[in-house]
Symmetry: C2
Subunit: 350 residues, 2 copies
């Protein structure tokens, strides 16, 4: 356990802004005595919010005033060029300067990706950072899915690197030596999919540092077949949001079916704890805290319409990543792979 | 209602082959007195199967012997070139020659797409055929999603055409004059997504024949926001299979939660009818019968691991499409759009 830890929070992002970030920040410092937070955003709004929770003078909560906000409709390139005093930018600047060890934001994903990459820079040898998140499965372990929307197009080499980074994250979080890594495709046979995916598969197969197990289809995500599933950001984002949509649909149909008859209404009442527990297990809020991996710093992205509970989960996730030194570990594996690449090819492709 | 209708069935495809296609065929002719079926596949296997169901001499069931099968691991281009006596190919040839009005197969999707396109040809002006299917929503109407795996890459013009074809299908099946058409993207704001999608959006916006309502995210699929959602085949296939996966996950978690306590076990028993009904409403089997649209003939693709009930649903779907003359109606709308395109641009882009 780290004895001291500072995280910078972008308080103004997401659909709820300070309404969810302020209660989450207060709860986080109260739960973790080693944690200090720098709250980036409008000073007046934040101090009023803290006041209401009797936490304005909390010794481990510091407000950093920012004049601007990166909204969801803001073009990422514009946000990068023009919004230098936005809460998102300032929070990332604090990680860059070393005042904070990690940053959490629920703001515009595209802008966060672009600004974080510009401010913090990628690790040596990394082509593109990716957004990674845990997704529930039928087994006790979640599966780590990446990329979830940071990169709309991905080269085969980029997908390969996502596999490496995902493997490090899964290994650290699940405590598994060689996590099973898979590529998301539209069929599990080798002949399926497009060229880029076939080339990425070839790169993964040849890499000793990876435990590559072949392709997965959308229906395999939740079976626990793989610990890490790699895809481009467009596909990953659609897959993740489709999950949310269908989970809501099922709950909707179930509740509707139960309400049709007074007998089932009574049953539904008795079943509430089970339904609640089940929904908790598949609800994205519980798995909130996607991370940007591949950067020289820790950035956790909370869901845009996240509750304060979910924003708290994202803060806790950032704290765990600092402790586990994820960026340092990713860098070490990339160094191993690069070292292997300069050996004669016979020993490379074992 | 048509008084006479012949459909050719590829009996050998899918995970279950004749085990699901034979009972489905027998049930289909028994249900619909106007329907005749040509059963393409191994004569011995099919006649033995029919014998067991006391239907070997059914007057509206005709066996067409085929020596070969297109397996799931078969490369589509190989299947097209070499498997000229496969059940899938023969069934499509029967549609081409006019002996059958439609074809149903649960075989290799890639091969079915390639062979069907080669044998039946696309409608005039259509760039690529697409695989379309109904997906359940929170409303009473399903949403039609396309493409579901036939086209891994799609040009903006192709996505636009998918919107047009999807609109015709939804209009016919739902009885709606101007179905709401949307493009699947990774954000609902105009700035999101890649160039191809932005260009497709522009084409849809300008087309008088389309009721284009903007972008949808994965989570919007099931809300009923749109009647038609367009995406490329890779994304569509991943989205559809992800739905299946998460539906199974939720049922798994729910059943597990219920089994933990004897009290809930008893409740689960009482709830069985509701659970069954709900699962039926979100189970892909119920929505089985994806169609290839854009061809000069009707081809319905049944799910690879479809039950005989699902294969039956696919046969019924094929019969409905013959009745509704979907290909003719798609052709008529393409002619309208082409006619509008030769008018001065001011009247085109109203």
């Amino acid at each position: 356990m780290l004895t001291h830890l500072t995280i910078a929070l972008d308080m103004m992002g997401g659909d709820y802004g300070p309404r969810s970030s302020i209660p989450a920040a207060v709860k986080a410092v109260n739960q973790n005595p080693h944690l200090s937070l720098i709250l980036c955003g409008n000073h007046q709004v934040i101090s009023e919010g803290l006041e209401k929770l009797d936490s304005l003078h909390h010794p481990r909560l510091k407000i950093k005033h920012c004049n601007e906000v990166v909204t969801n409709s803001c073009e990422p390139a514009q946000a990068l060029r023009r919004k230098k005093d936005a809460s998102m930018r300032i929070a990332l600047d604090l990680v860059k300067s070393g005042e904070a060890q990690a940053c959490v934001s629920s703001g515009n994903t595209g802008a966060l990706f672009l600004i974080a990459t510009h401010v913090l820079k990628v690790l040596p040898g990394v082509k593109r950072p990716a957004l990674i998140s845990a997704v529930p499965t039928e087994t006790k372990d979640p599966v780590y899915l990446l990329d979830l929307g940071a990169n709309v197009y991905c080269e085969p080499q980029t997908l390969f690197q996502f596999g490496v980074m995902g493997s490090v994250v899964a290994s650290q979080r699940l405590g598994i030596e060689r996590p099973r890594v898979s590529l998301l495709n539209i069929g599990s046979e080798d002949i399926k999919g497009h060229e880029g995916i076939k080339q990425a598969a070839e790169l993964m197969r040849k890499c000793n540092q990876l435990n590559y197990i072949g392709y997965s289809e959308g229906s395999d995500i939740f079976t626990g077949k793989a610990h890490v599933i790699v895809c481009d950001g467009f596909v990953g984002n659609v897959a993740l949001k489709t999950c949310e949509g269908i989970a809501k649909l099922i709950m909707h149909k179930f509740t509707k079916a139960l309400k049709k008859h007074v007998f089932y209404k009574a049953l539904a009442f008795l079943l509430r704890p089970v339904i609640k527990k089940m929904y908790k297990r598949v609800n994205p809020d519980q798995y909130n805290g996607a991370s940007l991996v591949g950067l020289r710093g820790i950035v956790v992205k909370s869901h845009g319409n996240a509750s304060n509970k979910a924003f708290l989960a994202a803060i806790e996730e950032a704290a765990r990543e600092v402790e586990r030194q994820i960026p340092e570990k990713i860098q070490a594996v990339f160094e191993q792979i690069n070292a292997a690449a300069v050996l004669p090819s016979s020993s490379k492709i074992e």
